[in-house]
């Protein structure tokens, strides 16, 4: 288990992202309304650099022939095959057992700190 300072808060405004290389891997840091999330830049499907994908909303589960769009800014769509992921958890929307590796994030002053490896 190791902690890494990977960015400064002011570098990533709300709705933004930054991709950094740390401890031999790429990690995407996302700011959703002031909360930061860190995902490994590897899609659970075929390993694409998923953190480069579009940050979007999605059609919420609904009754037949009803349409409800929501969660704007919370969903990451892989640029290769358009799989949707919940940025906050790394989970695929079609199956929560399919996940991008995610890292715990803490804020120390202006530093964004992630923890890699099991505690």
């Amino acid at each position: 288990m190791a902690t890494h300072v990977i960015a400064q808060r002011h570098e990533i405004p709300a709705g933004g992202r930054k991709i950094v290389r740390v401890a031999g891997r790429e990690v995407g840091i996302f700011n959703i309304d002031g909360t930061f999330y860190a995902l490994k830049n590897v899609c659970a499907h075929q390993g694409a650099r998923v953190c480069l994908g579009r940050i979007v909303g999605t059609a919420l589960p609904s009754n037949v022939y009803e349409y409800s769009y929501g969660r704007e800014g919370q969903i990451l769509r892989c640029p290769w095959h358009e799989w949707e992921y919940d940025i906050a958890t790394g989970q695929a929307l079609f199956d929560p057992n399919v996940k991008i590796v995610s890292y715990p994030v803490s804020i120390v002053g202006d530093d964004i700190v992630i923890t890699i490896g099991s505690p």
Binding site: T58, A59, L60, P61, S62, N63, V64, Y65, E66, Y67, S68, H81, E82, W83, E84, A92, L93, F94, D95
Partner: protein, 379 residues
Amino acid sequence: MAAFAPLALAESQTDNPTMLHTIDVDLHHQIANWQNIAPYAPAGLRHRLARPGGPPLARHGFKMVGPQFGAAPRPIDANGNIGNPAADPAWVKAEYLDKRGVDLAILTGPLLSLGVQPNQDMAAAIATAINDWTLATWVRPFRCFKGSILVAHQDPAQAVAEIDRLGDDPGMVQVLIGSASETPLGRRQFHPIYEACVRNHLPLALHIGGEGAGMSPPSTAVGHPTTYFEWYASLPQVYMAHIMSMVTEGVFEKFPTLKVILYEGGIFWLPHIMWRFDKNWKAQRSETPWVKEPPSAYILRHFYHTTYPLEQSSPSELSELLEMVEGQRTLLFASNYPNWELGDPFEMIEGLPKELRRRVLAENAHALYGERLLHSHAH
């Protein structure tokens, strides 16, 4: 005709059967003479059915080469004339059901193109006439026959009325529509029909046969086939399109208890569409957010399949494919009697493991149709 011993002991004529051993879900009883049907039609259109040759019916131009009935038995009169093997219920019972040990047969009739007939009022009248004629002449007098409520789905309102008219008749065990259709069957105008099936606790049977006739689109997605050979071999495409339509349009989200039987389609193509469908759903699911499970989950839960014609393959390949479509639960014995041009329907299931054959011959049908199979339906 090959001499096959009955696969199970017939007990169809016992007074209170609790379990049947051989159930044929697909017996095509036929119309020898429309004048016998006409009296059952609504008064206003009765005269159209009673004309020589029957009512006007749009047909496709495909007809098989060679004998339609294959190895099926057929009546021969004193002068040596060969008669229709599916026009007389007593003869069919004696020469097919009793000789093959079939306890119960579900009648699927002679008309699978009703849903693409341009005149929807005529089509609805024909459906009503055939249903009442079937009940009066085949089902009521014989414990061994059950009927299907035939409906013409191009006018969903009349189809729903017909389902509700006969839905609680103990002689009827399913709703039957031809898979030939102006549009894919998942589209919302058809949902009232599915609601009526569920309301009456009846599964829905789809049967190929009318593709290319009347208002039907061409039977393949690239246009009309040229020959019967090509037409028949390509028909599972129609089921692929209907399955995908019904799943994506949310039919099974709206009607979670609806069960659908795909007649005469085979099964080997199903794993392909389940995989492809699931694959695309992972990325495209937000377009139909009501499709909340992988499409294959709906397919496995809601669709049933029949053994005529079951693909022939090595035992290991066959059992692998059957496992993929959960055949131990979803496969039903269907003879397609008297249309045995592809072979003897009992031979088709000879290669199945014994336990699976037992399920296919009876248990799966019992589970699907429930107590209706056993209810007395005589007047």
